[in-house]
């Protein structure tokens, strides 16, 4: 075991501090006041964020910090170390997790005010931060998987946070189980990795990838496909995306932290982390492109019809994640990661803004019943607007840079793909504008009494909004493309982890593409403005959407839930009952019991010989003697 220098201790403290917060709940959760609990819980994460900053400063230019603690599992040739690898990729993720995490902690102090489970909520959030840090800091797939499942657990706990509501706990179950299906494939991938690599450590695997690939080309393809299947579960890609919209049952800060900014991006992190393997699996990459594209378009279309403010954002998240996978599939790892970061900022902001709206409206989530909130919730409105502009990718906010980067990379691969990517951007623009306009603009569509009660959120909730708004606005400057004379800092920083994407297109084309998409987005903005604000007869004007072909199809979210219910859930339950009824009781038990019954039957038959008739016994005796004598004679 390596000696413990400061780096060891710091990198251990980063995840342990939030964990301490979790265990602290058992010590002080019931005893301290709300504000103290909230401050403490946020404090752990903020400390952790600061330590991440320290580690950020310590990263060597061309390598990673490896910190080994002890062996987690060990048997023969099978070893899983409990060790961290802090490199460029993970340190940014750490900062993202702890940074956004602390903002959301602070926000929650206001949002969860007065809730029965106030301190429990913070304990869960702290635990989540711990697992997320474990996920991104691990130096091997198994430890990463521990974090991976752990965040799933926290997601389960937080979605079902208001456990008295059976629908919420059902949503929590669904989230966990669907994730588990993905995790099962991921586990297969892990087993395959051990079978062919004999280790789980990233650096070893990356070193051996080429030789394993040379030995059998199919293996890397299978492994990457399985890992990707795991990623579809966690990152809510088709066909495992159905849990994420339901997951909105949790408190809104949870949606912002887990289901927008951090956990759901774990799949993208995983693929970037394994980019050496994925680079060797062209077939997998094509599947990723198809799945990513399908997800972004399908989710975008479903989002058009949603009326719950959080559901719209949830499908938007699915759609954006699909876009990231799309980018990963074409090999634009840095672009995907860039979008991951900017998306984390503006989507967290959107959710927190939505939370602020819900908070202000005392729990109302239906956008048809909102409208004209811009006057009543000024600060929320401004920050929300910034986020919307960022997500629909208007320059110069962060979303513009990252989405443009993706689209530019994709165009280098194939213009057709670019078209679909741009289409997804237009869908985004439409539903986000619809959401924004219905909520903040136009006339108020709620009863006067309710309207009067609407209030701006407290400053403890607004402060994180400001910070995130700033990040959403300026986050794009992390990676200004060369076309604007930027240095592409992020991409260069990630170089030790991710090879530079080679899909560069010339600047002229890039300008044209950028122009086309921006103009189209602006067009959508005006169209929606006309539709939802000018006409003033919302939501009836949504009839336009209703007359669209497949409207019902969209409304029912492509019947995914119904399909899964009919094809998997119900048959599984029926099948188990069938087995219980027909195999277990009718065959297995019967066969076993039949041995007992057979002996009962035989003894019953033999017992008839002992019928109590003396004359019968006498006959039996004589015949027996006769038989014995006969045998003696014959012998």
């Amino acid at each position: 075991m390596a000696s413990f220098d400061t780096t060891h201790i710091i990198s251990l403290l980063v995840p342990l501090l939030p964990l301490a917060g979790f265990f602290g709940y058992f010590l002080y959760g019931d005893k301290l006041s709300e504000s103290k609990v909230g401050t403490l819980a946020s404090g752990w994460v903020i400390l952790s964020f600061l330590l991440s900053l320290v580690l950020f400063g310590q990263i060597p230019v061309d390598g990673a910090i490896q910190v080994n603690y002890f062996n987690w599992m060990q048997a023969g040739s099978f070893t899983v170390p409990f060790a961290f690898q802090i490199d460029q990729l993970s340190v940014i993720m750490m900062m993202l997790v702890t940074g956004v995490g602390s903002l959301i902690h602070i926000y929650s102090i206001g949002y969860m005010h007065g809730d029965n489970g106030f301190s429990r909520f913070f304990a869960y959030l702290n635990l989540f931060i711990f697992f997320m840090l474990l996920l991104v800091m691990a130096n091997n797939y198994v430890l990463m998987f521990a974090g991976w499942e752990g965040v799933g657990l926290c997601s389960y706990l937080l979605i079902g946070f208001w456990y008295k509501n059976p629908e919420y706990s059902a949503a929590a179950n669904k989230a966990f189980i669907v994730n588990r299906i993905g995790d099962l494939f991921m586990l297969y991938g892990l087993y395959m990795i051990f079978k062919h690599f004999g280790t789980f450590v990233y650096s070893d695997i990356n070193g051996m990838a080429q030789s394993v690939f040379n030995a059998d080309t199919a293996i890397i393809g299978i492994i990457t496909l399985l890992l990707f299947a795991g990623a579809t579960g966690k990152s809510a890609q088709i066909p495992l995306h159905t849990w994420l919209p339901d997951a909105m049952a949790g408190p809104t800060p949870v949606s912002a932290l887990i289901h927008a900014a951090t956990m759901v991006t774990a799949g993208i992190y995983l693929i970037i982390r394994s980019n050496v393997l994925f680079a060797l699996a062209p077939l997998t990459n094509e599947i990723i492109v198809i799945i990513g594209l399908a997800t972004t378009l399908v989710a975008g279309m479903i989002a058009l019809k949603q009326n719950d403010i959080k559901k719209v954002l949830a499908y938007s998240t699915v759609s954006q994640l699909g876009l990231m996978f799309f980018a990963l599939g074409v090999g634009a790892y840095a672009a995907a990661f860039f979008h991951l970061l900017t998306h984390a900022f503006f989507k967290a902001l959107l959710f927190l803004g939505a939370g602020s709206v819900i908070h202000g409206m005392h729990g109302e989530q239906d956008i048809r019943k909102m409208g004209g909130l811009s006057g009543k919730m000024k600060y929320t409105h401004i920050t929300f607007l910034i986020a919307v502009i960022a997500i629909i990718a208007l320059p110069p906010l962060s979303g513009f840079f990252s989405k443009d980067y993706i689209l530019a990379s994709v165009f280098g691969k194939s213009p057709v793909l670019w078209f679909f990517g741009a289409l997804s951007g237009l869908l985004t623009a439409f539903y986000m504008m619809r959401l924004y306009l219905l909520v903040f603009k136009g006339k108020s569509r709620m009863p006067e009494a309710d309207a009067a009660k609407i209030h701006e959120s407290p400053s403890v909730m607004l402060m994180p909004l400001y910070v995130l708004a700033g990040l959403s606005a300026l986050g794009g400057f992390m990676n200004i493309p060369s076309i604007f004379g930027g240095s592409q800092w992020l991409e260069n920083f990630l170089k030790p982890v991710v090879s530079l994407s080679e899909l560069h297109i010339d600047h002229g084309t890039e300008w044209i593409l950028m122009g086309i998409s921006t103009v189209l987005v602006l067009g959508i903005v005006f169209w929606t403005y006309n539709m939802y604000v000018k006409k003033n007869d919302v939501p009836e004007s949504d009839a336009v959407l209703a007359t669209m072909p497949f409207a019902n199809f969209l409304n029912r979210k492509f019947y995914f839930d119904e399909f899964y219910d009919a094809v998997f859930s119900q048959p599984l339950l029926k099948f188990s009952t069938f087995i219980q009824k027909w195999i277990e009781t009718s065959i297995v038990d019967k066969v076993t019991d039949s041995f007992g019954m057979l002996s009962f039957f035989l003894s019953g038959q033999v017992r008839k010989l002992q019928n109590g008739h003396i004359s019968f016994y006498l006959f039996a005796m004589v015949l027996g003697i006769l038989g014995i004598l006969t045998i003696f004679i014959l012998l």
């Binding site: 004359s615 006959f619 015949l623 006769l626 006969t630 004679i633």
Partner: protein
């Protein structure tokens, strides 16, 4: 003459025992068994076993038969008893008995024994037997008296009415 005597006695013996088992009246059965006993005693005499012949008559004809008769009188059963087994069982019983006979005959005919041993003159005499019983078999002899005693006690206990009723 002796052979004729043997055959006559055997015939009486067999016939009377057959009547014994087939007769419906229990009383007659007992009486025909008595005939059988006497003819068996006669056979003992032809075998020069006078002492056993006498004991036989005393024990069987004297004691056992009297017991049977007492019981019959006691149970008041001198009438004809009508319960009979079914024909099939009777035939089966007869067949079984005949098969038994066949098997025994077969067994004995296949056995070899030294037939040329001269018969002893005096082994059947009371004095000879008395010597044997009181020398070689003294303890069994005494034990048999205990057997009688216990049989007596047993019988008394069996039929003590108040013990049963309790």
């Amino acid at each position: 003459m002796a052979a004729a005597l043997f055959y006559a006695l055997s015939l009486i013996c067999i016939v009377s025992s057959l009547i014994m088992i087939f007769h419906k009246n229990t009383m007659y059965s007992v009486l025909f068994l008595l005939v059988t006993f006497f003819s068996v005693a006669g056979l003992y005499v032809t075998l020069n076993a006078q002492f056993l012949a006498i004991v036989h008559i005393i024990v069987y004809a004297g004691a056992i038969m009297v017991l049977f008769l007492y019981v019959i009188m006691f149970l008041n059963m001198s009438h004809i008893i009508n319960f009979q087994k079914s024909k099939a069982i009777k035939i089966a019983a007869t067949a079984t008995g005949l098969m038994f006979l066949l098997v025994i005959i077969a067994a004995l005919s296949s056995a070899t024994y030294n037939g040329n041993v001269t018969a002893g003159h005096e082994i059947g005499l009371a004095s000879t037997l008395g010597h044997i019983i009181f020398n070689e078999f003294l303890i069994p002899f005494e034990v048999s008296s205990i057997l009688f005693l216990s049989a007596m006690v047993g019988v008394v206990i069996f039929n003590k009415k108040d013990l049963i009723d309790e």
